[in-house]
Symmetry: C2
Subunit: 305 residues, 2 copies
DNA sequence: ATTTCAAATGTAAACGTTTACATTAAGGTT
DNA sequence: AACCTTAATGTAAACGTTTACATTTGAAAT
């Protein structure tokens, strides 16, 4: 080892980050803006981001719980000074809000956001195809009345999953009616309530597609309490394939999203933009999904040992 | 509004954070060091930290997936320059490692760490009492052979929960034997395997205490696959009370930890240390727990609607 | 030994704030 | 009107790096 390095270590020297940032005009930090940090989905995404960022010697600064447009705009402004780029996950944001709250040159990646043809890097889940696929699967079991528990209204994922559901129903021999569409907000509790409403519907649906796994679990709980067997009386499917989906009873038929890959991709894309600021070409990436048939739809009894 | 402010807004002025940090000698950022970012437990903790930090206009910089002592020491050094204080959650760290990798003046709060009487602010869960309580509860149902699925060996929470389990067994009419202690690592998968080993034990235990809820869920899954009814054939209890514990089938008897409060407390304590650097008195806080009896131990049938 | 080029070293300005201090202005008291 | 106190304003140094540029040094080539 070079003498200098040895001495540096002896003196416990470590460069002052603020001075370095000031001088170099970069912080080696990327910002993550989330609506909320709740449940396994988000911790998986962040895990992907964190490991990828660290591989490239970047740091992650996280700000969550922005549930109104005003809040997220404030967060944008506050964050923008301390990061080299931003990953934004929020249903509340649109292109004009971004332009008016961010320095124009700041690289941005939109994750699971509604992108109205605006020129931003964006990563989305293939919600439409995933929902279409799993609902088609439910229909293939012969179900005629398939209910959906919807996600938060303004959420683009929720909207696309609903669209996939509707088109799949229409394309199948199942019955299409908006009376089979029940509101939810991606939490277990909201789905618990929705499931009870579904049980009180006449004629009763024989299958439920929950717009995410957390809601599928909430619905399952309500069905159990009301002595309704899954998949015997009512079949059930979710969306996301969070780790726990394999382990619940019955195991959950769902749509697999490589959740942590979302985070990995977002960070990679952002770093690309940061490093090639000039000639970086913005584009939209859609992450594919895959239907995973487990017990809750009545397909199989799984043995995962 | 003052004219200056108006003009400032018009020009889209925002102060340069790096320059401000350099000049003020503080970053208004606190660092979080985690071993891993996995499952609901961590997202809850971070949520508590994030909201509390934001209330005080502080930012959170997060670094996870440090699973060896070398990694976490590297992370300590890298982080220390960019934050005003550090919250550390890691089984791999000890006082000397902290002292030799951090500037002495940097405020630190240890969360769920092993604190060997060293002079640090620390926050811990009352693991011993919680485990003792829930195991005593299982014993009160008349179980004589109560197994435990242990957590990661070097983890202090795991050690304390084991200690609580052992003391509770000895204090009850149940049978104490280390052959009822099965290894696990806090993941569903590890508990799945452990549960199968438990089923093959002769005589078979009639109750299982899993050292966290994720493992309880993993064990439950294995029991179901092997046609073992819970709580009919085997009673089950977990630890943490993650949100999903209410919603699984059967609902999970567990030990409630106000998880997000852990994060809230840690941040508050750290901010206190940052602001009162001189006369801040370090101390250890132990967060109480509460046994929550649900279905999986055979207590009641819950109706949560 | 002189020239040429590259490499090593040294120097100083810049990065954009904050803060401490000095100066000036203003207001109130005798 | 002279004096004191407080407030407002202005000035300059400091924060700890990086980087661009100038200078010196060293080595290779003629």
């Amino acid at each position: 080892m070079k003498l200098v390095k040895q001495v540096a270590r002896d003196l416990r020297y470590s460069p002052n980050i603020a001075a370095r940032s000031l001088s170099r005009r970069r912080t080696e930090t990327i910002g993550i803006l989330l609506p909320d940090l709740y449940g396994e989905f988000f911790s998986e995404v962040i895990r992907g981001m964190d490991t990828t960022a660290r591989q490239h010697k970047y740091h992650l600064i996280i700000s969550s719980s922005h549930n109104s447009k005003a809040e997220i705009e404030a967060a944008l402004r506050i964050m923008s000074g301390r990061v080299d780029g931003l990953i934004i996950m929020s249903p509340h944001i649109d292109a004009s809000a971004l332009h008016s709250n961010l320095p124009g040159a700041l690289p941005v990646v939109l994750l699971n956001c509604h992108v109205d043809g605006s020129n931003f890097d964006a990563i989305n889940i293939d919600n439409y195809k995933g929902a279409h696929g799993v609902v088609t699967h439910l229909a293939s079991h012969g179900h005629k009345r398939i209910a959906i528990i919807k996600g938060t209204e303004e959420n683009i994922d929720a909207q696309e999953r609903l669209r996939g559901y509707r088109d799949a129903i229409k394309a199948s021999s199942a019955e299409y009616s908006t009376s089979y569409e029940f509101p939810g907000d991606f939490t277990e509790a909201s789905a618990y309530k929705a499931a009870i409403r579904i049980l009180n519907t006449n004629p009763q649906p024989t299958a439920i597609f929950a717009s995410n796994d957390a809601m599928a679990i909430g619905a399952l709980s309500a069905l159990r309490v009301h002595n309704t067997s899954v998949p015997g009386d009512i079949a059930l499917a979710g969306f996301d394939d969070i780790p726990i989906a394999t382990y619940i009873t019955p195991s959950l038929t769902t749509v697999r999203v490589r959740i942590s890959d979302l985070g990995v991709l977002a960070v990679k894309r952002l770093l690309e933009a940061i490093h090639n600021k000039k000639e970086h070409a913005r584009r939209r990436i859609v992450l594919g999904t895959e239907v995973v048939a487990r017990e809750s739809c009545g397909c199989t009894v799984m043995h995962n040992d």
